[in-house]
């Protein structure tokens, strides 16, 4: 029987990284011979084939039965994939595939798209490495692969000032974050003499409090930067609004969640004793993050920045689910958090993709200038509306179901704190209407200048991912059981680890 480690290395990581090399090389050759655009198309097709193949392969996961099976290969010991990793893979692959299809239409006028798709595959591989890593060094290496590729993707359109400036901000703050995190991890190594999470966890109970807390603080702070917890979020609005829309969708939909996932993995793997305390910290951070993100989003005039701040707020919901889960040992909290990762990935990606399409046609990102666009681009505007209502947690869209779980877990804790938290979360979803509604309103108001500029139809490569994501959002909103299978498996895994 195949062990999970071998499975992860051979069927997930290898195709992605090897595929990135192949994509880059063949894309480069074709673009030398046939020109840039043909090279981009070929690279996109190869990238699509690779991701689809890896996605299909990821359904051959040997399952919990094989969890004990040894691969017999020493260096695979630094991977430790489980149901949680598989859940992230099942969220990430469809997203990357849809974004790749979208980019086929969206990036067709850019140069160097062979590199774009190669970097996208590397980013996917980095994410899968982070979620599958079982020791701190592999976690760090893959985290850096993810980071470096996303730095370059954010400033991909280097011809204008914004992506490049946002890119530098992104580089410096995230490099600081991940280095602080690895500094915390290196302290753990000094104190425990091991890099494997399981061995560190075995050592940690014998250590004095202060080094452990210092390491925990450094790690939380470090990965908190990537997860965009307030007050470490300041890079996010710039980077997510400056990136090409497909990349914004990936960044908001899955990359920041992977940043949080790294923290989650370490809390589960290394700090089981500190869980209660971590829960408290996460709850406070989450409440602040959600509220702050929502209020600042209201003040935004740029639609992509608005969505970026909304990502900050939604991250708060996810963290709230996990914080409540850790604090109260509540399975519902984990289900809510993980399910919100899943639904939010598609809703936020949908919002960014449809907004990207609108921006491409109108050439403006100011919300006030987008008057009447909904009347000339009805399909895209309706898609944005669905995404926005879903993000606001209105029933009939998937966001409601996951937020419902998060609201419920607070009440389920049965304490005043839980009730207050859930009420904050519910009220926040109303505050979020304060910026989604004006945006929708502007899109559907009588036509303005921008609407007059719109010419031609949206290309099918752009429309197809949008339609698929709309369907996912609606179907999960009416029948969440369809998306809950992997989530429940992952929650079982977490409960196994924390023994709840």
């Amino acid at each position: 029987m195949q062990s999970p480690e071998l499975f992860w290395a051979m069927r997930i990581l290898l195709p992605l990284f090897l595929g990135a090399v192949v994509t880059y090389v063949i894309g480069k050759i074709i673009s030398r011979i046939k020109g840039d655009r043909a090279g981009g198309v070929v690279a996109a097709v190869i990238a699509l084939v690779v991701t689809v193949a890896a996605y299909i392969l990821c359904f051959t996961y040997p399952g919990a039965a094989s969890a004990g099976a040894e691969s017999g290969i020493a260096w695979l010991g630094s991977l430790k994939p489980d149901a949680l990793s598989l859940l992230m893979a099942k969220i990430m692959f469809p997203l990357v595939i849809l974004v790749a299809i979208y980019s086929l239409g969206y990036m067709k006028d850019d140069s160097g798209t062979d590199k774009y798709y190669a970097l996208m595959l590397i980013m996917a591989g980095g994410m899968m490495g982070v979620v599958g890593a079982g020791d701190i060094i592999s976690l760090y290496v893959f985290f850096e692969i993810l980071s470096i590729s996303s730095y370059c993707l954010v400033s991909f359109r280097k011809e204008s000032w914004e992506p490049i400036e946002a890119g530098f901000k992104y580089v410096i703050i995230n490099a600081l974050g991940s280095t602080v995190a690895i500094f915390g991890l290196s302290l753990l190594y000094i104190y425990s003499g091991s890099v494997s999470m399981a061995e560190i966890a075995a050592h940690i109970s014998g250590l004095p409090d202060l080094p452990v807390l210092a390491a925990l603080a450094l790690i939380t702070g470090g990965f908190g930067v990537k997860a965009a917890m307030v007050p470490l979020h300041s890079w996010l609005p710039d980077a997510h609004s400056a990136a090409p829309s497909g990349i914004s969708a990936l960044l908001s939909g899955i990359v920041i969640q992977v940043g949080f996932f790294a923290l989650l993995r370490l809390i589960l793997g290394v700090f089981p004793l500190q869980m209660q305390m971590v829960g408290t910290i996460l709850i406070i951070l989450a409440a602040v993050t959600t509220t702050y993100g929502n209020f600042i989003a209201i003040a935004q005039k740029d639609i992509k920045r608005m969505l970026a701040y909304s990502s900050v707020a939604q991250m708060g919901y996810i963290i709230l689910g996990f914080g409540v889960g850790f604090y109260f040992h509540s399975a519902d909290g984990f289900t809510g958090g993980l399910f919100h990762i899943e639904t939010h990935a598609f809703m936020k990606a949908l919002a960014f993709l449809s907004v990207g399409c609108i921006i491409e046609k109108t050439g403006t990102r100011r919300i006030a200038d987008l008057k009447g666009v909904g009347r000339v681009m009805p399909a895209t505007a309706v898609a944005f509306t669905i995404a926005a209502l879903g993000l606001a947690g209105i029933p009939a869209f998937s966001g409601f179901m996951s937020k419902l779980m998060i609201y419920k877990c607070g009440f389920q804790a049965g304490t005043a704190l839980g009730v207050v938290l859930s009420s904050i979360a519910i009220l926040n979803s109303i505050i979020s209407l304060g910026y989604y509604m004006p945006a929708i309103h502007t899109l559907f108001s009588p036509a303005g200048e921008a609407a007059a500029k719109v010419k031609g139809t949206v290309s099918p490569a752009i429309l197809l991912p949008i339609v698929i994501m709309v369907l996912i959002t609606l179907v999960l909103g009416w029948h969440p059981d369809l998306g809950l299978g992997p989530v429940n498996a992952a929650v079982l895994e977490i409960l196994n680890i924390i023994g709840g």
Partner: protein, 159 residues
């Protein structure tokens, strides 16, 4: 004893990196920091890490910095800006150093003594054996960085 001297020199060059006015001197301080680190590595019995630190940290990175600075920096720009703030900066720095030393001393409680019996695996075994995945990861990192730099310096007209 040499180790303490090295540690002090490292701290000193780190401070120089922060406060030295001319960027080029700052880069040289950074290189010096790397050199001291690499000597320290050697003394601590890590020759390979020492060589890597010397060649990449003191060599490659310093050259990269130098090249970029000479490409970018106009001399005598922005010097006046910092002079007004420097005393505040030094106080802040003193506070930071004091705090970190205090933290470090409190951290020291749980540090294990040096291992008596070192059942050490040699570096190549570790590097190409149990850490092979990370080494592959490193090759991906280098590949990514080179593509990324290619993206940032591509000359073809884009959108």
């Amino acid at each position: 004893m040499l180790i303490y001297v090295l540690l002090a020199l490292m701290a000193l060059s780190a401070i120089l990196v922060i406060f030295c006015r001319d960027l080029l001197y700052a880069v040289i301080s950074l290189g010096t920091l790397s050199v001291f680190t690499s000597i320290l590595f050697y003394i601590l019995g890590s020759p390979f890490a020492s060589i890597m630190e010397l060649s990449i940290g003191a060599g490659l990175i310093t050259i990269l910095f130098m090249a970029t600075i000479s490409l970018v920096e106009q001399p005598r720009v922005g010097h006046a800006k910092y002079s007004g703030r420097s005393s505040i900066s030094f106080f802040a720095l003193a506070a930071v150093v004091a705090t970190t030393i205090w933290v470090a001393l409190s951290l020291a409680e749980g540090v294990p003594g040096p291992a008596a019996a070192a059942s050490a695996a040699a570096l190549p075994e570790v590097l190409w054996g149990i850490r092979l995945l990370d080494v592959m990861g490193l090759s991906v990192v280098i590949f990514t960085a080179s593509i990324g730099i290619g993206v940032l310096f591509r000359t073809e007209g884009g959108k």
